[in-house]
Amino acid sequence: MPVELVEKMLTGDQRALARLVSAVERQSAEVPEIMQHVTPLLGRAYCVGITGPPGAGKSTLTDRLIAHARQQGETVGIIAVDPTSPFSGGAILGDRIRMQQHYLDAGVYIRSMASRGHHGGLSHAAKGVIKLLDAFGKDLILVETVGVGQTELDVVAAADTTVLILVPESGDAIQTIKAGIMEIADLFVINKADRDGAERLQRDLQMMLHVRHASDGWCPPVLSTQAHQDLGIVELYEAITTHRRKLSETGQLTTRRRQNRRQELLDLLQQQLLAALTAQFENGETHSGLLAQVEEGTVDPYTAVQQMLVESGGLWR
């Protein structure tokens, strides 16, 4: 069944692609089989992560980047992530509203995803969906994160180039020195650059980035855009292209992708192992006496975890 769906997707069938995305998103038991068929086809697409605080203009900029990439003859896949309600598990996914001009373009596939309890700015399934879009034949994949603060860095381990979108109100020089996303973005964009404070933020950012020793030989440029007016979009696209060329020429693209695959394996292992162990534990299949003792306070959780890992096939070291 998954094989047929993959084959159908490879003929360019959007509905088959959409069904496969859903399978990856609900962590279906068929995912390993799907991925086995898709993996030989991977690596052709270039993936750009778009991140930044809520309301910075990520969706609007993404919309304009799609338009420009289409003019260059590239096909585009978009993953737009919005937050899941921690209370109900539901979500309102509204990034598409900004991308209406592309709904009927067969060269554009847009998928809205809910973060589903994941805290890194993407959803667990995002990396799997990037693979599907790559195999489907998209030239460019844009991944838009939920509105983030300073430490939601998932997108860096998923994308080839990471773009951080800020607005003039995003903060003064003190804010910009803080850790997290500021340390790892490849390109900085000050959107809504017609507002007060844009030039000052640009100066501050540039100064900070020059001080930072660029160990990989890349000093992230600070661009300004007004997505709403379509200003600065060509420059942003060209800066992405320049970064891409530089990563390819220096071999860093290969290194980055290797690191990302390694990270993906570790994340997946952690997620699945935890789910499996927790399920066993909560169903009372193993260690039921231990849980009661921890609840009573007669055994400490450190010792309990050690014992559980030893009993689960010698996982304790």
Binding site: A18, Q27, F87, I92, L104, A114
Partner: protein
């Protein structure tokens, strides 16, 4: 692996009216019921709605129309979904739909209609109960 099932609903505004208060209120209620809602914005052509429903692989499409053009626009969305192999998607409608239009719309594949005075809880319950089970 542990499988996570979530109902996905596309809320769409076909036609030319600019009132999406009801659509937004319903979107929030669905979210609070644990459903993932994709909202596509105002003034959509049926073609755009069908394309979004296919790409997003939704279980349900909820159409809201206050312009009086529902008899044309709603069945057109159903038809386009069918043409693209998505006949299993549940299509429901709301807005200013007169009672006497309901049988005709249902005959054209809009399976439930919620006119003025409908309770939000009823709509949410209907969607939960009737969303197709996907494998």
């Amino acid at each position: 692996m542990t499988t996570v099932q979530r109902i996905r609903v596309l809320i769409a505004k076909p036609g030319l009216d600019g009132h999406d208060r009801g659509a937004k209120v319903l979107a929030l209620a669905l979210r609070d019921a644990g459903i993932e809602v994709i909202y596509t914005g105002l003034r959509q052509q049926p073609e755009q709605i069908a394309a979004a429903a296919i790409q997003e692989d939704v279980d349900v499409v909820g159409l809201s129309c206050l312009s009086g053009a529902h008899n044309v626009l709603f069945p057109r969305v159903v038809e386009l979904l069918k043409e693209q192999g998505a006949e299993d998607v549940l299509v429901v409608g709301g807005g200013t739909i007169p009672e006497h239009d309901i049988p005709g719309l249902q005959a054209n594949g809009v399976q439930a209609l919620f006119g003025p005075g409908s309770s939000i809880a009823d709509i949410v319950d209907y969607i939960r109960e009737h969303a197709p089970q996907r494998s």
